[in-house]
């Protein structure tokens, strides 16, 4: 195959995180082959950093931190009150003590530090990849099975433990890993759902919470408006009772880990989406998930979402059909599904139909300029642009429609400008354009860069060029 720098640049933007210095030339000999090769790398998509704590360890550490902080604040308040009682004239003593900050301002609180460590790891994986295709898949699947850091404190560990091992594996395995992960059980309230007729339910007068069951059917597998009813939601919620988390307060060594609690499991057989499941304890839930993973509606749902993310808001139906067939024929083999995607002619259309999501764009800007960025600024930038890391507004995750991100273009301009003011003096914007756009650069973009009034302004134009914003 002849060298094709244009296809190389397109591959880097569409399937990866944008070019780094020399990327376009490096893969121009055979762009599709390099793309495929990324899937075959040993440990593709895995993070091998032994110093990162497990999600359960993070859960325990944050719990201990907050408990200690509460105790300290309580003690401080008590002392202040005693002081005020001893000196009744000085009313402000209580207020002054209460207003005192609990920690030194320059000290990063432990939960924030743990979050930043996970964020840095994730961003580095995207910065260091040749193309970044597998990392893009990680981001895609993490958003499909999203959890919220604010509620769970362990979104980073969840992604490493439940998502990454399966991005090129089987969908059924990822589904089981995600739904059984403490972060998900906590995020969608299943940890607290109790079978009304279970021992715990009868003794404590507690009952069902149908949140997780509904979102699995609606968002994670079959898709909304497909083949399930309210009765299926309720029955599936019963099946999932007992899937919970070891309480952190009383388990200093294993708190925050998954546990199946038979005492809370609703006894008896259940019917979910037309099939009867005997009460086999935890296996009852596993059996339902295994069947949902193989359902044709699930295949179509996943195929549509994958094509929407990479190809177009309204992906061509023949492409969705082919992906659906691949999913069904391979029993949800995600590596085969990914290969089917890049084998499709639609994946190579020259138009850059999609707008990069804010996180993708920020990483692409860092790759283009060869910088690694301050992690606080990176996650701050993602939040400002409407895509706060691991904090989706709802269980559906962040949107993959252009319309959702288009209105943020003006904010991106402010962000690009701020970034360029900081680093632009030291960079040659035309060289950055060669690196990042290469043969995609339009003549108008080249002219705008060449006639810019300052180096930061020229860099702003590279980062804001339609060829760079789109993929």
């Amino acid at each position: 195959m002849a060298r094709d720098p244009r296809a190389a640049a397109l591959v880097l933007h569409r399937f990866g995180f944008g070019p780094r210095t020399g990327s376009i030339a490096a893969i121009a000999a055979d762009p599709p082959a390099v793309l495929l090769a990324e899937l075959d790398k040993p440990d593709a998509g895995q993070i091998t950093k032994p110093d990162l704590p497990t999600s359960a360890a993070v859960n325990r550490a944050v719990f201990e931190y907050q408990a200690e902080r509460n105790a300290k604040q309580k003690l401080a308040r008590k002392e202040a009150e005693q002081l005020a009682m001893a000196n009744p004239g000085k009313e402000s003593a209580t207020q002054a003590a209460a207003a005192e900050p609990p920690a030194k301002p320059e000290e990063v609180p432990l939960p924030r530090q743990l979050f930043l460590n996970e964020a840095r790891t994730r961003i580095d994986a995207a910065l260091n990849a040749e193309i970044g295709f597998v990392e893009r898949l990680v981001w895609f699947w993490s958003n499909h099975f999203c959890v919220n850091q604010d509620k769970t404190v362990m979104a980073g560990g969840y992604e490493r433990e439940a998502i990454r091992p399966h991005v090129l594996g089987r969908f059924s395995d990822m589904l089981l890993a995600a739904e059984g992960h403490p972060a998900m059980l906590f995020y969608l309230d299943n940890a607290q759902s109790i079978g009304p007729n279970s021992v715990a339910g009868v003794n404590r007068d507690k009952g069902l919470n149908e949140n997780l069951a509904r979102e699995i059917l609606e968002l994670h597998t079959l898709g909304v408006r497909t083949v399930y009813t309210q009765a299926d939601v309720t029955n599936f919620a019963k099946v999932l009772t007992g899937w919970t988390i070891l309480p952190t307060a009383t388990n200093p060594d294993q708190g925050g880990e998954f546990v199946y609690l038979k005492r809370a499991h609703e006894p008896g057989p259940q019917t979910v989406v037309g099939k009867d499941y005997d009460d086999t304890g935890i296996e009852q839930g596993r059996a339902v998930l295994a069947d949902l993973a193989r359902h044709p509606m699930t295949a179509k749902h996943i195929a549509t979402k994958l094509a929407r993310h990479f190809i177009a808001d309204d992906p061509p139906p023949p492409l969705v059909d082919r992906l659906t067939q691949s999913f069904l024929n391979t029993d949800g083999d995600l590596k085969e599904l990914t290969k089917a995607l890049i084998a499709a002619p639609e994946a190579w259309a020259p138009d850059q139909a999609k707008i990069k999501r804010p996180g993708e764009w920020i990483v692409a800007a860092l790759r283009a300029t060869g910088l690694s960025g301050d992690i606080g600024r990176i996650v701050g930038g993602m939040a400002l642009l409407g895509e706060p890391l691991w904090r989706p507004p709802a269980p559906k995750g962040f949107s993959d429609d252009n319309a959702a991100w288009l209105d943020g273009l003006a904010q991106r301009l402010d962000a690009a400008n701020t970034f360029a003011q900081r680093v632009g003096e030291k960079l040659d914007a035309e060289a950055v354009a060669d690196t990042a756009l290469g043969p995609l650069a339009l003549a108008e973009t080249r002219r705008a860069i060449a006639s810019a009034e300052s180096k930061p302004q020229a860099l702003t134009f590279v980062l804001m060029a339609p060829e760079f914003q789109r993929r």
Binding site: D150, D189, Q192, S193, I194, P196, G201, K206, G207, L208, N209, E210, N211, R214, E218, L219, V224, R225, Q230, V233, G380, A383, L384, L385, G386, P388, R391, P393, A394, P395, K396, S399, A403, A404, W405, L406, D407, G408, L409, A410, Q411, L413, D414, A415, N417, T418, Q421, L442, E444, T445, A448, A452, E453, Q457, T460, F461, M464, A465, P466, Q469
Partner: protein, 417 residues
């Protein structure tokens, strides 16, 4: 596809001194009726529990339904009385004050035509105005604006829909141009850079050009109204974290929308969305999560009233959600997805101090599918009534372009003073 605004010329942009955009300098045309209505829609995402906002404390079946976890007329934290039968959550003193001043109306047991329980489909029906989900990428508010007669009550310059927040809600997307505003958190880019980039987009990417043009127009209004907050504040533009942060975000976003609507040359119709109403666990109606959120919402209503200034008397704010929640509590003192709920209306233009409800009751047999408050008022009747009487929308367009297939849902009359 959104229409194009008058593109600012290079010369206009270079004029500077606050007049960045041609139409910012256009003199205001007085309308024949002498009215200049403002209409703000707030979408409460996640499914607001209407029975936790306004409870039927006079209904003998109510006390049994949620026992001590519910709003009650008596007790340590009594609900605020409205009309002897219904009472308001005590976390909402501002709304109560407005109700007593005839500037707030409560619609109860209301629902969109949607009868399933998916948030995302429910929001789709709520915001699109269509009877079924997944059928549209435009919202009823935008289409209503686009369908207004020229020379009507809403000034030509008010023909842009306005949205606050980094992601524009569906309800306000559509053929009328949308201005979206996020309070600036970064040092703003220079006019020169903006103008050059706009020039590049005009030659390469019309969609991008349109977005940037709208931003330029908005910056002019903001400058005129002194609304550019100090840059450099790195607070995230989306809500999260503690209740104090949520309170601030609600009040800031709602107040910003009101300030733009109050401007003589500003937009007249706006929308924003607040998340967080999906209370599956420990709902905390009287004390706790939902009470805190309702308090923050009450603060947002107060911020709108304050920021509107004189324009408050020409204002209607409508607060709507995709569906209500189960009438009973679930196994975790929360509620799961349900059906009918409340819609809250506030504003000086209302004939308020009223509760609009055909009360279905909360006995087991009265509940929808034996679990949810039964819908007896089609939310579209309320919205159509407001659009017709407040904005002067044409009744025919309300049945076709704005709320298709809604002829059975007649516009509710007499909502306005």
């Amino acid at each position: 596809m959104p229409a194009t605004l008058h593109p600012p010329t290079r010369r206009v942009l270079l004029l500077g001194s606050g007049v960045l955009f041609a139409w910012a300098a256009v003199p205001r045309v007085a309308r024949a009726e002498g009215r200049d209505p403002r209409f703000l829609t707030i979408v409460l995402r996640g499914g607001l529990d209407g029975l936790a906002v306004v409870a039927p404390v006079g209904d003998p079946d109510w006390g049994k339904l949620r026992r001590e976890k519910s709003l009650a007329a008596e007790g340590p934290t009594p609900a605020l009385p409205l009309d002897g039968f219904f009472a308001l959550n005590p976390a909402m003193p501002n709304l109560h004050r407005l109700y007593k001043a005839d500037q707030a109306t409560i619609v109860h047991a209301a629902a969109t035509p949607y009868r399933e329980r998916s948030h995302f489909d429910g929001q789709d029906v709520l915001e699109s105005g269509l009877p079924k989900p997944g059928a549209a990428d435009t919202g009823w508010l935008n289409r209503a604006l686009a369908a207004l007669e020229p020379g009507g009550r809403v000034a030509p310059r008010g023909r842009q829909a306005f949205a606050v927040g980094p992601i524009t809600p569906l309800v306000v997307r559509g053929p009328a141009p949308v201005l979206s505003w996020v309070p600036p958190r970064l040092p703003p880019v220079s006019d020169d850079t903006t103008m050059r980039l706009l020039d590049l987009y005009r030659h390469t990417d019309p969609t991008f050009a349109r977005i940037l043009e709208e931003r330029v127009g908005l910056a002019a209004i903001a400058k005129a109204g002194g609304m550019n907050s100090e840059p450099g504040d790195e607070r995230p533009a989306v809500q999260g974290g503690g209740i104090a942060q949520v309170r601030t975000y609600f009040a800031d976003a709602a107040g910003a929308a009101a300030k733009f609507l109050a401007e003589p040359q500003g937009p007249r119709v706006a929308a924003l969305a607040f998340d967080g109403w999906d209370t599956h666990v420990d709902e905390g109606t009287v004390k706790g999560r939902l009470a805190n959120l309702l308090g923050a919402l009450d603060g947002a209503i107060a911020a709108i009233e304050t920021s509107m200034g004189e324009a408050w008397r020409e204002t209607v704010v409508v607060l709507v959600t995709e569906f209500g929640r189960t009438a009973r509590l679930n196994g975790n003192d929360g509620t799961d997805h349900g059906t009918a709920t409340v819609a809250l209306l506030a504003g000086g233009a209302l004939k308020g101090g009223r509760i609009i409800a055909d009360w279905p009751g909360v006995k087991d047999a009265d509940l929808y599918e034996k679990r949810d408050l039964k819908p007896t008022t089609d939310l579209r009747t309320v919205l159509k009534g407001l659009l017709a009487d407040h904005l002067g929308a044409d009744p025919r367009s309300l049945e076709t372009a704005v709320f298709p297939d809604s002829s059975a849902a007649k516009p509710l009359q007499g909502l306005l003073a």
